[in-house]
């Protein structure tokens, strides 16, 4: 008798985020996002590639509701996270964020900066005197150690170099114990060597912890090197979805130089 076939492991392809027909316009005239449809798989390192002004940052900020989308839906593990009834605080615990300009509070110590990643879990009155629980401190220091920055824990954040600051910012996102990290041009203001180092940390640590990463980049090189999957954006639209191998010169031309509206007119 035949043994029943083992089902292939489907966790790799489980959809953690599903963006459906998302649009965002400012004042009715400027359309930052024009009908975005993207699925994000659990645990993947997804790069959103596109030129400045393509709408990458807006899309990322719609995901954790720093920006309110104009229309469309976002599903997180099948549950809608757009609309007024969503608990933003609970939602944002799930999404760690890393910024282009690091956005560390310069006058606070490295450790306190990382501890701010725990604020989503603490009530306001319990953080009134900057006190954190032992548990929170352990989580913060572990996060720092993951990016090898624990030795600078008690320095002021502005004494660090750019690359070090971004590693601390990654630690801050990790301290949130998120399921997803949104990285908005995390290496745009770093030199190539440091940029690769930071992306390496980001990819390796999130892989170890099983965190999904959505990373905006405008550099093709880094995208080829680090992306497990790529979404290409141009002028508020998705114009490409695939892997690094699919990223041909023709595709790059479409992402960086072509007007997606022109293409639609000619194609249809």
């Amino acid at each position: 008798m035949d043994q029943p076939m083992l089902m292939p492991n489907t966790t790799k392809t489980k959809t953690i985020l599903s963006v459906q027909d998302l649009t965002k316009s400012y004042g009715g005239a400027i359309h930052a996002l024009r009908g975005i449809n993207v699925d994000v798989h659990e645990g993947e390192f997804l790069v959103i590639l596109g030129p400045s002004g393509a709408g990458k940052s807006t899309l990322l900020r719609c995901l954790n509701r720093l920006v309110e989308p104009t229309s469309g839906k976002i599903l997180h593990n099948g549950e809608e996270i757009t609309g007024k009834r969503v608990n933003l605080r609970a939602l944002r615990q799930e999404f760690g964020m890393v910024f282009q300009q690091f956005n560390l509070v310069k006058r606070l110590s490295v450790l306190t900066n990382v501890l701010t990643g725990r604020l989503g879990y603490r009530s306001t009155w319990r953080s009134l005197f900057y006190n954190f629980s032992k548990e929170d401190k352990k989580i913060a220091i572990e996060s720092l150690a993951r990016v090898n920055m624990e030795h600078k824990a008690f320095q002021r954040a502005d004494t660090l170099s750019g690359g070090e600051q971004q590693r601390v910012a990654i630690a801050r996102a990790l301290a949130q114990q998120p399921t997803i990290i949104l990285a908005d041009e995390p290496v745009a203001s770093l030199d190539p060597k440091i940029a690769r180092q930071v992306l390496n940390y980001l990819k390796q640590v999130t892989h170890e912890l099983g965190i999904t990463v959505i990373c905006n980049l405008h550099q093709v090189e880094y995208t080829r090197e680090f992306a497990e999957r790529i979404v290409g954006m141009s002028r508020g639209k998705v114009v490409f979805e695939g892997t690094a191998e699919d990223l041909t010169d023709e595709i790059l031309h479409r992402i960086y130089y072509k007007d997606p509206d022109e293409e639609e007119k000619n194609g249809k």
Binding site: L111, I141, L144, A145, R146, N148, E150, A153, F154
Partner: protein
């Protein structure tokens, strides 16, 4: 990092966190103790006493009841004094603005022509700020005679000290990148001040000048105490003559004036900044 070294690094940092925190608490306790001791000593010296405050309440109440009802017929006499108060404040602030423009550039490290000029300017500004408007008014009353002009000069000099120092500090805090770009283009010192520094400080300067106008109106209401014009003269005069109902009217007008100036200045400031 292997998991063993990872764990030991985390443990070591956790222990250091405790040390760092204890050291900070110790420091806080020492400085706190010094501050409490100094404040306690000062409180004893200046006879800070809640008892005296409480036992003084009936006397205050007595004074307040004597003020009522205010004599509103006295308003017709105060009309001119009120307008004079506003005029003193406006002219005083205007002169202060004009004086503080050059002084603030001379008194900022990054725009001063020479370090000696910088120190002399700061010395001048410090002495202007050190002397209260009422003291200035006394000096000018003896120099230019009784009347509002002495008040204008008093307001102007004190406000100059404040405004120029504030502005000089703003100048020292400007973004160096914007200045560097113009130096790189071969601009002269004066051109850099005009094109690189001034645009950066204008909003703060205007905001502070409006705030100064507000403060000047408040101080112009008391300059009359020493004969330098405005509402203060009527205030002190009616008190000396025990015409408390008229004093109440003066206080009422001053209150209204301050309220209106606060409202107008607040609106102006929001518009500019």
């Amino acid at each position: 990092m292997t998991s063993a070294t990872f764990e030991s690094a985390v443990q070591a940092t956790l222990q250091r966190e405790v040390q760092v925190r204890l050291r900070r608490y110790l420091k806080l306790a020492i400085y706190g103790a010094i501050a409490v001791a100094a404040l306690w000593y000062a409180a004893v010296q200046i006879k800070l006493s809640f008892g005296a405050l409480i036992s003084g309440v009936p006397f205050m109440w007595d004074f307040i009841t004597r003020l009522f009802p205010p004599d509103f017929s006295y308003l017709s006499v105060l009309g001119n004094a009120t307008i004079e108060t506003i005029q003193i404040a406006i002219w005083g602030t205007l002169l202060a603005i004009l004086l503080s423009i050059p002084l603030s550039f001379l008194g900022a490290r990054n725009t001063t022509p020479h370090i000696i000029v910088f120190h002399l300017t700061r010395l001048l500004l410090n002495s202007l700020r050190a002397i209260n408007e009422l003291v200035f008014a006394l000096i000018f009353v003896s120099a230019v005679g009784l009347g509002p002009f002495a008040g204008v000069l008093a307001v102007a000099l004190h406000a100059t000290g404040m405004l120029a120092k504030f502005c000089a500090e703003e100048i020292e805090g400007v973004d160096k990148g914007q200045v560097e770009a113009q130096m790189a283009a071969g601009a002269t010192r004066m051109q850099v001040i005009l094109f690189g520094v001034t645009p950066q400080i204008i909003p703060q300067f205007i905001g502070y000048a409006i705030y100064r106008l507000d403060v000047s109106i408040r101080s112009a209401t008391v300059l009359g105490f020493v004969g330098a014009g405005g509402l203060g003269f009527s205030l002190i005069q009616t008190m000396k003559l025990f015409k408390y109902h008229q004093t109440a009217t003066c206080i009422f007008v001053i209150f209204l004036l301050v309220l209106v100036s606060d409202w107008i200045c607040g609106k102006l400031r929001r518009k500019v900044i």
